[in-house]
């Protein structure tokens, strides 16, 4: 334990720089050479290869966006990015890399938050961005089969004319790929309503490290024939194979949507409010999102959506965004108005006040206050993001305790940690704990870890609710998974990827 923790600190302090492949049984991986590039040039057109090596010799800045995550926290030193167009090409690349023992990092939209999609060293990056075609769509069953590199928003636009929506929606929808969503088992804003990808993904096409193609791209909703292998790849973060195709069930588009932001005098009211809202709105409730006061103020400060009038925010300790979606506008509005009336008219009201969107523009504007927190945080400073599952009742306590902990370490001031804030999906028990600092500093990291992981473990929570493990949390996996579980995960990894070329240094140490 002690050893692994000090390792962990080193890893985080160097933010992905070091962490040379450790214990997955792969003592040594090889770097890409000019001979490899020559081989790749036979499989792929020149335009699909970016490499600083001869004979391609791309300028190194062309690789920057592939080597770093969007927050600028994780940096790799890959020399080569391959952008295959077909599953066959992916297969040939992997076969070669496996034989040559070259590490491979599958990369989608590179919007992850835990460094799962950037190399830790100089692995080959396989960008799926050129695999972006919809293969098949059945408007009756709503089953969509698409290449892994399709951008979530473009799929949303694709199914919209058929009156369907994607079962997943998240802030990064304009850049993230469906393959990456599946590989990381992304959660997002619709999970409360449509469940996780373990339910909505019906089939996958995966290229295994030895180049064989696992074709499980079925469109069946029921298929109890042996082990459900696709489930292993959902959330494996590219450590078992490269997802190249996804079959996913799209739900019908709600005919009416409403949203409302409620201001609450105290966090203590969140849980009773959640119970009341669930009971009264029942099937039309589609989101129940929590934003604490600090997060709200930051979102407003950085222009993420129009602020609520001051009269509605005075004395509010936190805010709740409630969204309804249903089949009939009049029915939904009536239910929602009844709820709001009973909330405002109660003897001891759970809410201070709130606003109800009156138009699609206001609907988006209210959502922007919640979805924009992520962006506002990165504009404000350097963010330490923890995405944890803890019991609902302890959301605020975790945020407050973390703030006090940092204060006691003398790190809560202008030049260190500026804000500690919480927001997230109350309905899913998922809290986003963000620490906004002036700069990434080793003493802040030391103060936060393993402190936060220990807090989570004490609640029997999860250290990564929906962001994954990536390179950032491998050392902390044991806070959420027992030794038996981790041992079994390592065995599974060895079955699929005996040479350990797939996304090395991620998920498992």
């Amino acid at each position: 334990m002690l050893v692994s923790r000090s390792c962990a600190k080193r890893l985080l302090a160097s933010a992905g720089r070091a962490a040379r492949y450790s214990s997955t049984g792969t003592s040594q991986l090889n770097s890409v050479t000019e001979q490899d590039i020559e081989y790749f040039s036979k499989i792929l057109p020149k335009t699909s290869i970016i490499s600083t090596l001869a004979p391609i010799s791309s300028p190194s800045d062309e690789l920057n966006s592939f080597n770093s995550d969007w927050m600028g926290r994780f940096h790799g030193r890959s020399t080569t990015v391959l952008k295959p167009k077909t599953t066959r090409q992916v297969s040939e690349i992997l076969k070669w890399c496996n034989e040559r023992r070259i590490g491979v990092v599958p990369q989608g939209g590179n919007t992850g938050l835990v460094g799962g999609s950037v190399p830790v060293h100089d692995e080959v990056i396989i960008s799926l961005s050129n695999m972006n075609n919809v293969r098949n769509y059945d408007p009756v069953s709503g089953v969509l089969v698409a290449d892994a590199g399709c951008i979530l928003q473009s799929l949303t636009d694709y199914v919209a004319p058929h009156n369907h929506i994607m079962p997943i929606d998240l802030g990064a929808k304009g850049s993230c790929h469906i393959g990456g969503n599946v590989a990381t088992n992304a959660g997002g804003l619709r999970l409360l309503r449509y469940g996780s990808l373990h339910g909505s993904v019906l089939g996958l096409e995966v290229v295994l490290p030895d180049g064989s193609i696992l074709d499980q791209l079925t469109t069946l909703r029921k298929d109890n024939t042996g082990y459900d292998l696709k489930q292993l790849f959902i959330g494996a973060e590219g450590t078992l194979g490269v997802i190249t195709g996804v079959s996913i069930l799209t739900p019908p588009q709600p005919q009416a949507s409403n949203n409302v932001i409620l201001s609450l005098p105290s966090f203590d009211n969140v849980l009773p409010l959640y119970q009341t809202v669930k009971r009264q709105l029942s099937e039309i409730l589609s989101a129940f999102e929590f934003i604490d006061r600090t997060a709200y103020n930051l979102a407003v400060k950085h222009g993420q959506g129009r602020a609520l009038p001051e009269s509605e925010t005075v004395g509010a300790e936190c805010f709740i965004l409630v969204e309804t979606s249903g089949g009939r506008r009049e029915h939904d509005s009536e239910k929602l108005l009844d709820l709001l009336e009973s909330l405002l008219g109660a003897d001891k009201p759970l809410i201070n006040s709130g606003v109800l969107s009156q138009s699609p523009a206001e609907f988006s504007s209210l959502w922007a206050l919640r979805e924009g927190v992520t962006e506002a945080v990165s504009k404000e400073g350097k963010a330490y993001k923890y995405d944890i599952s803890v019991p609902l009742a302890s959301f605020k306590q975790v945020v407050d305790d973390t703030r006090e902990h940092l204060r006691s370490k003398g790190l809560l001031h202008d030049k260190a940690v500026k804000y500690v804030l919480g927001y997230g999906h109350v309905g899913d028990g998922n809290l986003h704990l963000n620490i906004v600092a002036d700069a990434y500093l080793p003493e802040i990291t030391d103060a936060l870890e393993p402190y936060i992981y220990e807090v989570v473990a004490s609640h029997r929570g999860s250290i990564s609710a929906e962001h994954g493990i990536g390179a950032m949390k491998t050392h902390a996996l044991h806070y959420s998974k027992s030794d038996v579980s981790i041992e079994l995960m390592k065995k599974i990894k060895a079955v699929f990827d005996p040479k350990g070329i797939m996304n090395p240094g991620k998920v498992l140490e």
């Binding site: 405002l344 606003v355 138009s359 699609p360």
Partner: protein
């Protein structure tokens, strides 16, 4: 000291239910109009008008005796009036036309507004109850005709201040100083009440309707009138011949060098 009765202001705010501006407009297959089976909301310029009326009250307190919203439209226009009431109007008037009727044209709308003003002012118990300020959007974003305010001012023989970006009311002098958006800047004009103002984008940013106000709005009175009550014929005077989408944009191409560019420009007769 109580202000003298004549110094009270009564504001009328006409509002229109329009296709929401965030909706992608689609032409119907018959090419007679657009697909209206989409989300609607209050015309954004009218929302600015309601907001301005409410702000005037916040500034001038009791001097603004009443704020009335009015709309002409099908049954669903009631939602638009509720929004106006939730934003702060005191009462509303709904001139209901059949759900299948075509959208009323500006002249008919202006005549309806005149009829309502005349009716309300005839019923008024004193000068302090008469409508003397009409604030409305400079145009509706669905038909973009942008003439209703001007027609109303003409019909009534009132002052008019169009494209307003700032209003300062001097209720003592019965004057309003209005800044108008004109090409290249702003123009200040001083208008005598009664007055018709049309709003431009920069006048204000409308607020969200708060929950308590939405609840109060449910109890505020809405008076229903028919076209017969206002004595206006809504039969269209304009005939829509055909509605079609703009031609789709043809994508550009890449040229390898300047010579090729010049050759292409010459081919196109541009150089």
């Amino acid at each position: 000291m109580r202000p003298s009765p004549r110094r009270l202001l009564n504001i009328l705010v006409p509002v229109k239910r329009a296709v929401d501006y965030s909706v992608k407009i689609r032409v119907n297959p018959q090419q007679t109009g657009i697909d209206t089976n989409v989300k609607h909301s209050m015309n954004p310029f009218d929302e600015i008008a309601v907001e301005e009326a409410v702000r005037l009250r916040e500034k001038h307190k009791e001097s603004i005796k009443s704020i009335r919203a009015v709309t002409i439209g099908p049954s669903k226009s009631l939602d638009t009036l509720r929004t106006a009431l939730a934003l702060g109007a005191d009462s509303a008037i709904h001139v209901q036309i059949p759900d299948t009727a075509p959208s009323p044209e500006p002249l008919a709308v202006a005549k309806t507004l005149r009829s309502i003003i005349q009716k309300k002012n005839a019923e008024a118990s004193g000068e302090g109850d008469k409508i003397d300020l009409v604030i409305l959007g400079k145009q509706a974003i669905d038909d973009d005709l942008g003439v209703t305010g001007q027609m109303l001012a003409g019909l009534m023989g009132w002052s008019q201040a169009t494209f307003a970006s700032k209003l300062e009311v001097d209720e003592g002098k019965q004057e309003v100083l209005v800044t108008r958006e004109i090409d290249g800047g702003g123009e200040e004009i001083r208008c005598k009440l009664p007055l018709v103002v049309t709003t431009d984008l920069r006048l204000n940013e409308p607020r969200y309707a708060s929950l308590p106000n939405i609840m109060k709005a449910k109890k505020k009175p809405i008076e229903k009138l028919t076209p017969e009550d206002v004595g206006v014929d809504f039969t269209p005077q304009l005939e829509t011949v055909k509605v079609s989408e703009p031609p789709t944009r043809v994508g550009g191409g890449k040229v390898a060098n300047v010579d090729e560019l010049i050759a292409k420009l010459k081919d196109a007769g541009l150089a």
